[in-house]
Amino acid sequence: MTMTGAQILWESLVREGVTDVFGYPGGAILPAYDALLEFPIRHTLVRHEQGATHMADGYARASGRVGVAIATSGPGATNMVTGLATAMMDSSPIVCITGQVGSRLIGSDAFQEIDITGITLPVTKHNYLVTRPDDVASTVREAFLIARSGRPGPVLIDITKDAQQGSCEFDWEGAGPSLPGWRHAPTIAEDLVAAAAALVNGAERPVILAGHGVLISGAMQELRTLAERADIPVAVTLLGIGGFPASHPLNLGMMGMHGEAWVNLAIQEADLLVACGMRFDDRVTGNLRTYAPHARKIHMDIDPSEINKNVAVDVALVGDLQGTLEQLLPAIRRNDRRPWNARIAANKGDAAVRDIQFLPDDGHLYAAHVINDLWRATHESDTVIVTDVGQHQMWEAQYYHHDAPRSLITSGGLGTMGFAVPAAIGAKRARPEAEVWAIVGDGGFQMTMCELATAVQDDVQIKVAIINNGFLGMVRQWQEFFYERRYAATPLSGPDFVKLAEAFGILGLGAACRSDVQEVIATARRHRGPVVVDFRVEQEDTVYPMVPAGADLHAMIRRPNPIVETADD
């Protein structure tokens, strides 16, 4: 059947299972938009192309399916760079489609012409420039295969206007991927599996490090079996949260820069680290020279370029995590590591009494209270939390206890402020039955708050909790610790967020004291439609504990003046 390149584009997307795209039209992508009306694809009109990429990313992370964003050439395409880089760093499968000027104009500096494949080379898993309608179908097929296979990542397809307008014979079957350099991950040698199993079986103080790979691979059950059978405590990375239930007795919580003290101490005291789908990021390890000095290391990851990149390991098992664990589990002996787990529990007990949750109400509202109350209100129902970047992101990781996979979506590797609101819209599109909350700071919220209009126009019922402290809080915290409290450019004003919400046609709520928190959360949850809640929290609150960048992992800045109050006070 003869079709235009634009029609082939949508037909190919439909055949790849796409039901939703997030985009913004413009000159060079107009032929594609014109054809969109003929296809069963829901289009969400964003207010900025960066928002489209984060929505596709949130969609992908909430569902495990490939998220799709679409934009025009030139500035439409360059606005996607931050979202592509965010998805690249966090291994999120998205496909971004950009219009390009006509193929004969390429290289002429035509209106809205930009070399987007050149620009995005380091921030995409792969990218394409398509100049003929005949190449559209095969390119879409390859792009989806690459985006979702192996270590997932973003793929960009740049399609010239004439490739959209021109016609050719549509042949889906004949448009199979042609990738001679692409192979599946190999099987893992039995001797390596045996070596890993011997390390696990022989360890006295092992710790499992669970990362994003657990969720991507869907290895939650295998991980749990490993932990339970061998009685090994599990520390999670920020992106690994939800891969192992927070309420599980073997769950330690988040490791790294803002991990609780007992977690980092356990890693430093361990005699074996079993790394599952994580990459020893600097925010996780601190000073590499003193990292886990007593531990042998097993590294399971699908990406060989991560092996020995930051931390030299004893055994590397390269492959899909679920399959790797399936191969490893039969060799893992049932074990009882009571002394080791008791030692960690003793450290934990020491820290828990200083928890902010046990402080009496002194009239101040702390972000930790808000987040913990939100957890109490929502954790028994199907809830997705999407966080932005900064203090609130770390407090969320500490005080919202995630049991379910894909219940936390956050920008980890790139640390992209402005991520939460659009990513929440994408997550809600992917999982309409779930309650989706964006937790944002007043800084990050003001970067992409224009997308509230998207939520209104396209009826995407997200709830937004602004942790409003009038500062760029995490930067202020660094100034407090490392720059002698010289608050250069961190005090931040903003609009009246309740009125702002109302101006968008959204319910706006506010809370400034602890006693109001539960009620506004309940009101927000009852409301049918998007909600913005302005939580005006303590201005100069600090995320503890903190391992300063590059410091030893055990050299934590602990909560000051150990608070003697306990739950009984």
């Binding site: 080379l121 990738l179 350099g181 190999p186 893992i188 040698a189 060989p304 020995n308 590397a316």
Partner: protein, 183 residues
Amino acid sequence: MTTMHTLAIYVEDRPGVLNRVASLFRRRGFNIHSLAVGHSETAGVSRMTTVVHTDAGGALRLRAHLNKLVHVVRVEDITHRSSIVRDLALIKVTADHATRSSLMQLAQVFDARVVDVAADSLVLEMTASASRIDALLEVLRPYGLVEMARTGRIAMTRGPAAELSIPSAGFEREAEAGVSYSV
């Protein structure tokens, strides 16, 4: 310990592939000492020979990164294998009536060919290892070097071709065997 590593990279012959490879070296902080690109024995597949200065771990990671490029078919590190390494140089040197014959004798000693003779210059062509060419350059320098062009090193292992299959072995062993798998 950092040393020179010679990599043979087989890539699909597509527009922009050289840019992808070069961008990867830049992005990951590897400095290309030498790079030569040309057709390989297989239609549609080009062969790049690169020389990089890095340590053993760096070379292994570089290959893992290269393998992740979708259009890279196969990467071999032939540094420690018995191989033939050649560089081609064209060298224009000042030569007048008085010096021409001694220059031609030098060329003969070095197995270089005289490919052009003009009134005041000679062009020599030499195919050899990089160090042999460097040695010729040193003796030519006093005569006055006018111009030089070199291809950069190309290399090939001695003996039969390595089997291109996926052995059931660990990642390092597979990398050793030149197996590419994209992630």
